[in-house]
Point group: C2
């Protein structure tokens, strides 16, 4: 029997065996149970779902010490990071309970029967309904917020969909701990059997995505992993939605004004954003556009100094660490690329790597220089204003783009915004893209290859991914969802074309 082991990233050694690889028969049984749970869960209604989400938040919070201990040991991320991520994860579950209570996400719409320019119109009532069982692929780099109890899971539960999680191999023990905690929470509110499931092992993930009961897939991971799942989906009798958060360069542009006014501050901010969490954040600024000239030089020198002082970083797993070294080697051998700073040398037998700052001329950006490299590295691209638009045009789309500029550079900022907007999901000013607030107005998703959807995987509107519209025509009240009945006034609805607030 093949086992799923928990590895210590600082040593590369197996600490414990967590689970057996889930067999195909077990995967199929979980999917069938989820399919059976789906209509039961949907029928339990929004109040139940909000209670479930709050129970999950409470249970997770109640074992904070255990979660942080297991997470720290299994990921080598600092304790403060795990604590902060748990706070975010608990908040996220509670925020989705608020979303469910609010009900605006349902897009409830009523057109009463009446005359229209096309003749008599029937009574039409539209609502978003849950899609059915969702497969969630946990990410390595956010072992809580984007993993078993993460945003995909709680947004799908909020929508009314059962969830089966594929545990990430980088943190199986934490996956099991948090899954058991969620299951306990589900029991406290008498949730239907089969609502939550977990599978371990790559083969089980593939089996899950192919299972006809699965109605949608949420994935945060590599472009290669996402494409492999897309291929499986293409082989299904009917396609299903795939929400992949895949690869992102996250360019950050420093204007001449900003470089002059606060080059050292920006250097410090960039290096902190590049090296934090071992540079393993999907919104890490991987390419920093800095003006040519002495003020840009000073910024680059300050950044180089900070990177030289940075200790080696222990990455999450063997694959990320190997890939980091391979990409670094390849870039170092690229003629146009200069290594301008390297941090601490790798230590121990684990997944330790050297932080690194590279430099290139902005006119020679292509290929490897504009591909995401997971880990504590960034490329500084030096530009003059005449070639800046061309350099931006060569960039792939990203989750984020950032502009550092001064107040008196309005024209340049408008020009940069216009060229960065078509290739960004979030456009930031005078900040750093890492640290993605879970809120109503958040957007975490941009054009391909950053994601392949028109949706976000962070923030309240991520619930839309697990819903589809249904319209009831001339339906008797007995079959209408309560939210579409005339006297249900507690949620926002559009009635006969006019939006009304919930009362």
């Amino acid at each position: 029997m093949s086992m799923i082991d928990s590895i210590d990233p600082t040593t590369g050694a197996i600490v414990e065996s967590v689970a057996e690889v889930t067999t195909n028969a077990e995967v199929d049984a979980l999917a069938s149970k989820a399919a059976a749970a789906a209509p039961v869960f949907a029928a339990l209604g929004r109040e139940f779902r909000a209670r479930l989400l709050r129970a999950i938040a409470d249970e997770l919070e109640s074992i904070r010490t255990d979660i942080v201990a297991v997470g720290t040991r299994e990921t080598a991320l600092p304790e403060a990071r795990l604590n902060g991520e748990l706070t975010r994860t608990v908040y996220q579950a509670r925020l989705f309970a608020e979303v469910v209570d609010d009900g605006g996400y349902l897009e409830a719409t009523i057109d009463h029967a009446g005359d229209t320019p096309m003749g008599p119109g029937p009574d039409l009532r539209r609502l978003l309904v849950p899609l059915g069982p969702v497969a969630v692929f946990g990410a390595s780099n956010f072992p809580l917020a984007f993993s078993v109890p993460g945003g995909d899971t709680v947004s799908a539960l909020a929508a009314g969909c059962p969830v089966i999680v594929k545990a990430h191999s980088s943190h199986p023990a934490l996956s099991k701990l948090t899954f058991d905690t969620m299951t306990r929470a589900a029991r406290t509110v008498d949730a239907p059997d089969g609502l939550l499931g977990i599978v371990f092992g790559t083969s089980s993930g593939a089996r899950l995505v192919a299972n006809p009961a699965i109605a949608a897939v949420g994935f945060t991971g590599s472009l290669g992993g996402g494409k492999a799942l897309l291929d499986i989906i293409a082989g299904r009798p009917g396609p299903i939605p795939f929400y992949g958060e895949l690869s992102s360069l996250n360019p950050l542009v420093v204007t001449p004004g900003a470089a002059a006014a606060r080059g050292a501050d920006i250097a410090a901010g960039v290096v902190a954003s590049v090296t934090g969490s071992g540079g393993q954040l999907c919104t890490k600024p991987g390419l920093v556009l800095v003006p040519l000239g002495s003020e840009g030089d000073a910024l680059v020198s300050a950044a180089a100094e900070l990177v030289e002082q940075a200790p080696a970083a222990t990455l999450l797993n063997q694959r990320i660490s190997t890939s980091y070294d391979q990409i670094s080697t390849s870039l170092k051998q690229t003629e146009e690329v200069t290594v301008i700073a390297e941090g601490g040398k790798p230590v121990g037998d684990g997944f330790s790597v050297t932080p690194r700052l590279l430099q290139v001329d902005a006119t020679s950006l292509h290929g490897g220089e504009v591909e995401e490299c997971f880990g504590p590295t960034a490329i500084i691209a030096r530009y003059d204003l005449d070639s800046l638009d061309q350099a931006i045009a060569a960039l792939p789309a990203s989750l984020t783009s950032t502009i550092h500029a001064e107040d008196d550079e309005t024209e340049l900022v408008q020009r940069l915004s216009a060229s960065l907007l078509p290739k960004s999901g979030r456009l930031l000013f005078n900040g750093y893209p890492t640290g993605v607030l879970v809120s109503w107005a958040q957007q975490h998703g941009g054009p391909w290859p950053s994601t392949n959807t028109l949706h976000t995987s962070v923030g309240t509107t991520s619930i839309r991914r697990w819903l589809r519209p249904v319209t009831w025509q001339s339906a008797p009240t007995a079959v209408l969802p309560e939210e579409l009945q005339d006297d249900y006034l507690s949620i926002p609805r559009r009635v006969d074309g006019r939006l009304q607030l919930g009362q």
Copy 2:
């Protein structure tokens, strides 16, 4: 030079040559012009887009007589149908102007900077922005409402996207006439050059979908045609959204109570819905579930009589007519299937076919009996209540499902609703699914194979297909869209988690 000819469906003869097949170079030039127009059009704002849509509506209305004459000649659809469809098309353009004015579709959301459980949060402002140039594939069966000036085109323009239409080969003359009319309307409001384009010929459609400037595809047509375009999209460097409205059986269930109370009325309604427009409507009820027993028998006899009286129907083109005859032949040769009525014999050399009513036992529904057959035919499946759920379980998903029931059958109606809902985009009661009202609460799209999206292609929310969310973080007012500025209060917005109406 290969020509696009306008055919008379009643004779199969070429009436005129309308255009040359658009060359690859011409397609690429149109896409480039659309890409250049995209940011200009987006920047012109919502007021301009509403004006453009109203100008299009006015210009189309102003040449009603020409449109109806060309459309009738080219499609063999009755004049009343073309007149009604033009009314709908004009209304649709005006309704999208209202949607643009309303602004709720933008999902404008503002989270002001402030403390959060995760620490200080930045100012975040989210809005849906246009995707970029859209390729629209006109449908054969709605030469106006789902073609050049149809729902895909006007919803994409409302969203702020340039549109290039692939003209359907069944009505090239009407496509050219309506395109020229729209172009004239665009000129009256000084729309940017390249905003509208049209291509002719299958090869040009394929080239268009492969062009990197195209950001999304709207398609109404066959499952095979949709799959071919999906294959082209899969071959692009990055995927783009494909909104296909493909294939739909549209089951209609008559309960025992309804059969007893108004079997003859239902028979008349079903036959009208099956034979109207030559049965060439995507919501045609292709499968009618009728109870076994004498009252079901009476309904079927009444329907059979009406089909026998129905004249031959002239279909839209050679392909549809050939396919209709092939599917009919195949079904007639299926052991379980009985032909219970045939209408008028084909007349002339055109695309004339015989209306036909078939019958099968509901326990033997599989394969060909549950596939869409475009044209004036339906299969009646006879059921007893014990096997009804199983029969429904064997059905593919559809755009619509319909239940005819009496007021005292609440329990059965709830049971049928529950089993039909997961495979329906619209659930109708005591009506007929053909005739899709353009309105706020409409839904025209169901699970695969009816469509492959979570969206609708009819009604105001179809605009969502051409939009993606962007969040501005800590942005200076000078780069914020006006709809996200604090003092812009005329549209619905969610501010700090609370929905506010437009003032």
